[in-house]
Amino acid sequence: MRKVYLDNAAATPLLPEVREAMLPYLGEVFGNPSSLHDWGDKAREAVESARIQVAQLIGANPEEIIFTGSGTESNNLAIKGLALAQPGKGKHIVVSAIEHFSVLHSVQTLGKWGFEMTLVPVDKYGVVDPQAVRKSLRKDTILVSMMHANGEVGSIEPLAEISKITKERNIPFHTDAVATAGTIPLDVSELGVDSLSLAGNQFYGPKGVGALWVRKGVRIMPFLEGGVQEGGRRAGTENVPAIVGLGKAAELARVNMPARMKQLIPLRDRLLTELPAKIDHVVVTGHLKQRLPGHASFCIEFIEGEAMLMLLNSQGVAVSSGSACTSRALKASHVLIAMGIPHALAQGSILFTLGLDNSARDIDYVLEVMPPIVDRLRQMSPLYAKFIKTGKGGK
């Protein structure tokens, strides 16, 4: 059976060059970067080279990069670290309604210490209106956090416009760029942000490593406390092989980004146009143009995402969904709901995220196996039966 992996938003395969770069650090070069001897020097040099590679990917200075253990940790450090570093300045934080839970839950937890959150809504394409951000600002706003692109619906946010507003008001602006760094061109100065999260497992780098960039001069409290690694901003023995892998993945992403985008965008666009052409009652989610290159997401009416996933898997195809049933918390995707998608339709969420291993034949295959799967589930669906009988219930 053909195997087609279309879940690159969940995990990307490690590029062979990245693995090769990591292997010495799983072998003879095993020292602790803090150690004052040759073994330590070699490990430290590797970490510092990776820091340069990551900085170059986003147009930053190496000393502004803090290595972390994941995109999640980068966001926890950013939100909690930036908020707690400004005592006495205010307690109000502004975030978009579609932020990743690592941002949203961090802000909610800050609520215990007196912080207040304003959620900025998004339009039906999942895009934030910069003027809505402006309106949400208060005198005591000390932090704005808006993701660069949403991993579930692929829409890219107008950060450069938002940052004009935060700059006017001198409010630190964090962005979760986990879905974009290494995937689309990105420059921290052009975006105008003050801190930025990224993660290796989103662009063919290793799991277990992320980074937070914090603009020089912006104060941040450490989140993981202990030793003085990462300039005292992130404690714990450095994950040297993963950091090296992240560095290599960043370098490859920077160099090969145009070619990668050229490969992915046509495949994505075929899915975005041909799937709704082949199957009735399908809506594309997210913005059609301001969109991640490999990202095609839909809601399929009358059926549920997990069941689609499982049948696609039985045909060798790996995808994901934002349906309540696929989330372990069994809640409908807050992203789809924030975009105004009704609960029943959100249940039919399905998400194809393409990667470098994909070809046109993979898309052919998906377009071939998908319609019978939808049909089969609709034949079982009481909602579809009602729609057929009454003509009602369709979106």
């Binding site: 549920e304 069941a307 499982m310 049933c325 409908a332």
Partner: protein
């Protein structure tokens, strides 16, 4: 350690008794698409036994497997026997369900019971 037992997967991939009954003796609908799962059970009763059980299900893999299992367990049983089918016995027959799926996707027994009550209600109503 896959999410679902082999039995759940087998019922999901090959669900038994899917469909509607044209002129059912009882219908039971539970759930709603907002919570995620929705099941409609149709029954045909003969000599106080379930002569036919069919269903339509909107929902996840567990919901579909549960519907299929309930239909298989109920088929041919007396109504009183069928009322003894519970979420627990269904989950046991399916060799377990993931903890978080136990309550929300395990509505099959309830839908069946509702169909039986519907049948009994109509009979009492003297239809």
């Amino acid at each position: 350690m896959p999410v679902y037992s082999d039995k759940v997967m087998e019922h999901f991939m090959h669900p038994r008794n899917v469909g509607e009954i044209e002129t059912p003796d009882g219908v039971g609908e539970v759930g709603n698409p907002i919570c995620g799962d929705m099941m409609t059970f149709y029954i045909k009763v003969k000599d106080n036994r379930l002569a036919d059980v069919k269903y339509k299900t909107f929902g996840c893999g567990a919901a579909i497997a549960v519907s299929s299992m309930v239909s298989e367990m109920a088929m041919g049983k007396t109504l009183d026997e069928a009322l003894k089918i519970t979420p627990r016995t269904v989950a046991d027959e399916l060799e377990g369900l993931p903890q978080n799926k136990f309550h929300c996707s395990n509505l099959g027994a309830q839908a069946l019971h509702k169909a039986i009550q519907d049948y009994r209600g109509k009979k009492k109503g003297g239809k």
